[in-house]
């Protein structure tokens, strides 16, 4: 099989997740309303209450809220995979004439793409609220969001394949949602958390910190210049490493460990 056949298969596998978009209409409407509330009400309230040096906390918060959405949309992909396991659809996909590597990457990309598409309305709100008019900046934001969503969805799907239980997954997701999002620079600038040493170091190694600050560097460079979790180069290196690790681990998992048969 040529590389083109593999890419073609990858695109088709990725389409599997994207085509499920319509079942989420209600969920998306809820998420979207909640996001509007966050950005248009809570964000303003909080920004009026706190001040972190001379940082424009409102703009900082808006990007953070978007990252939180992107994160939870990607985590939803883990639920999808558990559900598919229960319905035997993973068995079906494992039987298709597609290389396991292509299947793994295709699902991660598809999961990322659909998480990204689910978050797209929110991204547009962010662009509007922040007044971003430059097309390159908007495209860079979109692309970065898509890449982050793919790594996160890849991790969520891999975890789901290992747990194979919606109960266990729900618990883990609840914990990771509150912990990972809190212990990061999603809502708190790194300068502000440096007071608590443990918190500071956890936030520093949390991929979400790097993702959200990377988004900020693209969206609101004038606000966060010099106050991100690390330098731009370091963040890019970290995030690339994270994406590669995420993909490699899901490849190994799917290749070596995963087989069908969710209790049947």
């Amino acid at each position: 099989m040529s590389i083109w056949d593999d890419l073609r298969a990858l695109a088709l596998i990725a389409f599997w997740d994207v085509r499920k978009l319509r079942r989420y209409t209600f969920f998306l409407a809820m998420r979207f309303s909640w996001f509007l509330l966050q950005v248009l009400v809570f964000g303003l309230l909080v920004a009026n209450m706190v001040s972190v040096g001379n940082l424009d906390y409102y703009k900082f918060y808006v990007v953070g809220a978007f990252m939180a959405v992107l994160f939870s949309m990607s985590m939803v992909k883990g639920h999808d995979v558990v559900e598919e396991f229960e319905d035997g659809l993973i068995d079906y996909q494992l039987s298709l004439p597609v290389k396991r590597r292509v299947l793994a990457i295709g699902r991660a990309v598809g999961g990322g793409l659909s998480a990204f598409l689910h978050s797209l309305p929110m991204l547009i709100v962010v662009l509007a609220v922040l007044g971003i008019e430059s097309l390159p900046a908007a495209l860079a934001l979109a692309f970065a969001s898509f890449v982050f969503a793919s790594s996160l969805a890849g991790v969520a799907m891999s975890v789901a394949l290992v747990l194979r239980s919606s109960d266990r997954l729900d618990i883990l997701m609840g914990v990771s949602d509150s912990l990972l999002v809190r212990v990061s620079t999603i809502f708190y600038p790194i300068a502000a958390v440096s007071a608590v040493a443990a918190y500071y170091y956890l936030a520093k190694v949390n991929p979400l910190s790097h993702m959200v600050d990377a988004l900020r560097l693209i969206a609101i460079p004038e606000v966060v210049q010099g106050s991100t979790v690390s330098s731009a180069q370091a963040m890019i290196a970290f995030l690339t490493g994270f994406a590669v690790a995420a993909i490699l681990s899901s490849l190994v998992l799917l290749d070596k460990k995963i087989e069908g048969g969710y209790g049947r």
Partner: protein
């Protein structure tokens, strides 16, 4: 023709439970192979291992020389499976699902649409193309599932109880479609509980019971392996004397004879040959045969003999 699939010492355990317990057999290229066994005997598990969905605990399967443990990516290019339980999301609509499947197995979009329409019309599910999967009847779901394989036409097609929920007319149509795959030179494996299906379809059947192979051969061979499985029924003119009966017993090589109301029943192997011998013997002794019939054992008998019978008798 060589073996398309070689199963060697195949074992599959789920925790402590052994679902497949050391299977070894070949499936020849171009044959329809029936895998027969009672519920829970390990049919689906075996098929899922051949399709690389499950990994063997021990042993191996080779498909055209490619091992399912070492080269599963290669195996998957050659094998396709229609699952026992149809696989779809409840929000799927059959048409989209089948077009997606067709494209994944290599069709271009336009060809996929055309082929899906053809196969859906052939299986009489075209009218259901736009429904949600959750709205479909059991039989329709099953048709969507097997349609995947008729689109895919892999070198080795695996059907897990393909007609389990289908009505009689559809059953016959599906059998024809499966035979057509064989006529195109493909190898077909069919797991089934349905003796008619196994008998009509299979060139050879393997009977498994509790994960082990109990019998392997063509339906005719297996029937012959049941001791004295054929029944010869003879109606003759006049009474049958002791000497006639014992001469007949000797000629037919069986002790199992009984006579009632002018009908003689003899339990033999290879009924057709024995019928000729019986007629010859009787006419030599001056007894006129009015009618003769041979009742062959059904595959049901075979199935009971190799599974049920051994349950009780522990043979």
């Amino acid at each position: 023709m060589g073996a398309a699939v070689r199963v060697r010492g195949l074992v599959k355990k789920f925790g402590n439970f052994t679902a497949v317990n050391g299977l070894t057999f070949d499936i020849e290229e171009g044959e329809i192979f029936g895998l027969l066994g009672p519920n829970g005997s390990g049919k689906s598990t075996t098929l899922l291992i051949i399709a690389t969905v499950y990994k063997p605990t021990a042993g191996d399967v080779e498909v055209y020389g490619h091992s399912v443990t070492k080269r599963p990516d290669e195996v998957r290019k050659l094998v396709g499976i229609a699952f026992q339980d149809p696989k779809a999301l409840w929000v799927d609509n059959p048409y989209e699902l089948l077009v997606w499947h067709a494209m994944v197995v290599g069709y271009g979009l336009l060809d996929a649409r055309r082929a899906v329409r053809e196969i859906m019309e052939e299986l009489e599910i075209w009218e259901h193309r736009g429904k949600l999967f959750s709205e479909l009847s059991g039989g329709t779901r099953k048709k969507v599932e097997i349609a995947k394989l008729f689109l895919q036409k892999p070198k080795v097609s695996i059907f897990d109880e393909p007609t389990a929920q289908l009505d009689v007319t559809t059953k016959h149509r599906v059998w024809e479609m499966i035979r057509a795959l064989k006529d195109e030179g493909r190898t077909v494996i069919v797991a089934t509980n349905d003796m008619t299906e196994a008998e009509r379809l299979s060139d050879r059947v393997g009977i498994i019971y509790k994960g082990s192979l109990r019998a392997l051969g063509s339906p005719a061979e297996l029937k012959d392996r049941i001791p004295a499985g054929d029944v010869l029924e003879l109606r003759v003119d006049g009474a049958l004397g002791e000497h006639v009966i014992s001469a007949l017993a000797r000629a037919l090589g069986t002790e199992k004879l009984n006579v009632s109301n002018g009908t003689l029943k003899a339990y033999v192997n290879r009924g057709e040959e024995k019928a000729a011998i019986a007629i010859e013997t009787l006419s030599r002794l001056g007894v006129r045969v009015r009618s003769i019939s041979i009742k062959e054992p059904t595959l049901d008998d075979v199935f009971f003999y190799f599974t049920g019978a051994q349950l009780g008798e522990g043979k």
